[in-house]
């Protein structure tokens, strides 16, 4: 993975001392909260319902053991012993004191972590395929490009006061694990007819109050021209994006109002005027960055591990874990392991300090020193030898991280909701917990198969409910928590915004309604169909009827 050199480290040190200076001025009363707010937001520090929340950037979701251990240390020293992994692959601490924030950032800087651009109307943390460097599906390592974007976008002088926040995702596989089409810019690496590497550039996706699926404005951008093209897109957006209404300020609104074709034309016109020599990264720097992501040294191993097969035969729990959480690796004899932070009854995305340390140890010992965070709020060990899987499973079990429910009904995305967030209308976490408990029987969950439930506590859609196979949106009705259900959404390569099922239902009825929806699927499904496939074939009617039957 990318290693910070002296320049990167000095940059972070300067950032920490700048923020320490600003906090000192605030604590001394030299600046007001109003003046301080934009400064703290540029450092990921939000004022929430109960305390300050600090959001730490995890560039393209990649962590090394030292970083995970440092996060665990911060959780113990300054928070309540845990942290929350987000859908942006970041980590949030929800119980922070303002006076501690500079020390926390200084401590994180020791392991090259920071909170730069985790809030504010700037280019946010760039995400990439969590299986990068491990999956056989990819054309190139998307982290190379995510790192290029990280450096380019860091304190970008022209694009730090955009109309609204701006999110970029990079994928290099046909199967999209980044939800690229729900990003302001989604980049998918493709080979052109001549074999040259390029990007399909998708613009104007986004969730929030008005969900949009991104439109392709360029089928094949030569890879080396990425930064100048991004500059052109950002420039068109910075000049013409709406600034009069923050709910209409995302680039998706500009793209929708101009039409993708006209937006693309303006981008191309701007791009034609940018000098490639000054805007694109020199090949030497690209090669330097690429060098950090050179394929790890994999041993030549047999495709089947006798040791694993024996353990699997003896332990049904391991067999189940392998079925649901372990995926093929590009190197023979290796596997990719999903660690679901979705133990039924727990808060989705939460990890305790002890769990972080266990994952750090496992990454160090069994996964070439790497762990990943996914936008579905799970962790990944990308490079595990088949022989080592039983040991990894045992170690995860010991800290409550062996839930074999990746991609199943209890692998639910939920925002922090009204339990933490000042914007929320309703709670998200208890709803997730209740559903996960209802479907805790793993045989039932496996029979249901892939089913992505996503829950947001308000229309800002941090829980990505629009792209859940089943989406759940919290709304406030005269002080009571109600939930609106949507069906048929997807954030993957077949991206689609879900359709509203019907009137919002009371909190007490949500889990029963999910039960009804699942029952319709089990009744209607044809062989090989996932929930989403059945819904797409039958349409919404039978599902609607089941949930609202008793009302009629």
């Amino acid at each position: 993975m990318y290693r910070y050199d002296a320049l990167d480290k000095e940059f972070l040190a300067d950032r920490v001392s700048e923020f320490r200076h600003q906090v000192t001025r605030r604590l001394a009363g030299e600046i007001t909260e109003d003046q301080f707010k934009p400064l703290r937001l540029m450092n990921g520090l939000y004022l929430q319902l109960h305390a300050y929340m600090l959001r730490i950037a995890i560039p393209y979701g990649t962590l090394n053991p030292a970083q995970l251990r440092k996060l665990a240390e911060v959780a113990r020293t300054y928070d309540k012993g845990y942290g929350h992994f987000t859908t942006r692959t970041n980590l949030q601490f929800h119980w922070i004191k303002l006076r501690d924030a500079p020390d926390i950032l200084a401590s994180l800087a020791e392991v090259d972590l920071h909170a730069i651009q985790t809030s504010g109307n700037c280019i946010r943390n760039t995400t990439a395929d969590p299986y990068a460097g491990a999956t056989a599906e990819e054309l190139d390592d998307p982290r190379v490009w995510a790192e290029v974007i990280r450096q380019w976008s860091t304190l970008h002088p022209e694009f730090s006061f955009l109309p609204r926040k701006f999110k970029i995702a990079v994928t290099a596989s046909v199967k999209d694990r980044t939800a690229a089409r729900t990003h302001d810019i989604g980049l998918a690496l493709r080979r052109g007819r001549d074999g040259a590497l390029g990007f399909e550039v998708m613009v104007g996706g986004g969730l929030g109050r008005s969900p949009h699926i991104g439109s392709t404005i360029r089928e094949h951008l030569p890879a080396g021209r990425l930064l100048s093209y991004l500059q052109a897109i950002l420039r068109v957006y910075n000049r013409h994006g709406r600034r009069d209404n923050k709910f209409k300020a995302r680039v998706k609104i500009l793209v929708a109002s101009l039409g993708a074709e006209e937006f693309g034309r303006q981008v191309e016109a701007e791009w034609a005027q940018i000098d490639p020599a000054s805007a694109d990264l020199p090949d030497t720097e690209l090669a330097r960055i690429r060098g950090f992501f050179a394929p790890a040294g994999f041993e030549v191993l047999p495709a089947v591990s006798a040791k694993l097969e024996a353990a699997k035969a003896a332990d049904p729990a391991l067999a189940r874990f392998l079925r649901n959480n372990v995926h093929p690796h590009k190197a023979s004899g290796y596997a990719i392991v999903d660690i679901a932070l979705k133990t039924p009854g727990e808060t989705p995305g939460d990890a305790t300090a002890e769990q972080m340390e266990t994952v750090a140890d496992l990454a160090e010992r069994y996964s070439q020193g790497e762990a990943r965070v996914t936008h579905e709020q799970n962790l990944v060990l990308p490079h595990v030898r088949l022989d080592d899987l039983p040991a990894v499973h045992e170690a995860l079990k010991a800290v409550g991280l062996a839930s074999a429910n990746a991609n199943l009904i209890s692998d639910i995305i939920a925002c922090p909701g009204l339990d933490y967030c000042a914007l929320a209308n309703a709670r998200a976490i208890p709803i997730a917990q209740h559903i996960a408990q209802r479907f805790a029987d793993q045989d039932v969950a496996e029979d249901i198969g892939e089913l992505k439930i996503k829950i947001s506590g308000c229309i800002n859609a941090c829980g990505h409910h629009h792209v859940g196979h089943i989406g759940i949106l919290g709304v406030d009705k005269k002080g009571e928590e109600f939930y609106q259900l949507t069906l048929g959404g997807s954030g993957a390569e077949d991206a689609e915004v879900g359709k509203i099922l019907g009137p919002a239902i009371h909190a007490s009825r949500v889990t029963d309604a999910i039960d009804d929806l699942v029952a319709v699927y089990l009744r209607e499904r044809q062989p090989g169909e996932r929930f989403l496939d059945t819904y797409r074939r039958t349409g919404i009617a039978p599902f609607k009827e089941a949930v609202y039957a008793e009302v009629h």
Partner: protein, 181 residues
């Protein structure tokens, strides 16, 4: 004479403002003036013919392209930031410097705060009328806060990747030298 902050190689300092910024609804005083883009397009030639120096004020919503042809004869362009969070001024300044090679003064007016100093200087602003009562010393300090930058911009500071290349070359040269000895 009113003062504003002017950036120079040795740092920021107060400078006398010989220009009078004239709102559209007011009639023109004698001497050097800064007028709106609209007024400049209507009256600019006549004003310059009177022998005065004329600068132009660009609103956030106006396009610098409309002024491109006239830039060589303008001593100053002021760019209005209606709110500190409105980032259009940064693109305007970047285009002035990088696309049009404008050599005159680019002055930030409006909701201009010292916290923006680093970004503004990088985009090519070299003059400021701060709204927060900040001093040239504070602006100098703010622009020197970061030892490194990550991208090329109008200020021509070498970005991190160029610094790295320079370091590598220096290391190579040192090695060649040590072998020669």
């Amino acid at each position: 004479m009113p003062k504003y902050i002017r950036l120079a190689a040795e740092g920021a300092a107060w400078a006398d403002d010989r220009f009078t910024a004239v709102p559209d609804e007011e009639s023109l005083p004698p001497g050097d003036v800064i007028v709106s883009l609209k007024r400049f397009l209507a009256e600019g030639d006549a004003l310059q013919a009177e022998g005065r120096e004329v600068g132009v004020r660009i609103a956030a919503s106006e396009e610098i392209e409309d002024l491109a042809y006239d830039l060589p004869r303008l001593p100053v362009v002021t760019v209005v930031c209606p709110k500190f969070s409105d980032g259009r001024a940064y693109t305007t300044a970047s285009l002035l410097r990088e696309r049009y090679g404008y050599k005159g003064e680019v002055r930030a007016v409006g909701d201009v705060l010292r916290e923006q100093a680093g970004f503004m200087v990088r985009c090519g602003f070299d003059a400021f009328e701060p709204a927060d009562g900040s001093t040239p010393e504070q602006w100098t300090q703010a622009t020197r806060r970061f030892r490194h930058v990550y991208q090329r911009a109008a200020d021509h500071r070498p970005p991190a990747f160029e610094e790295r290349q320079a370091q590598d070359k220096a290391a190579e040269a040192a090695e060649v030298k040590s072998h020669a000895v």
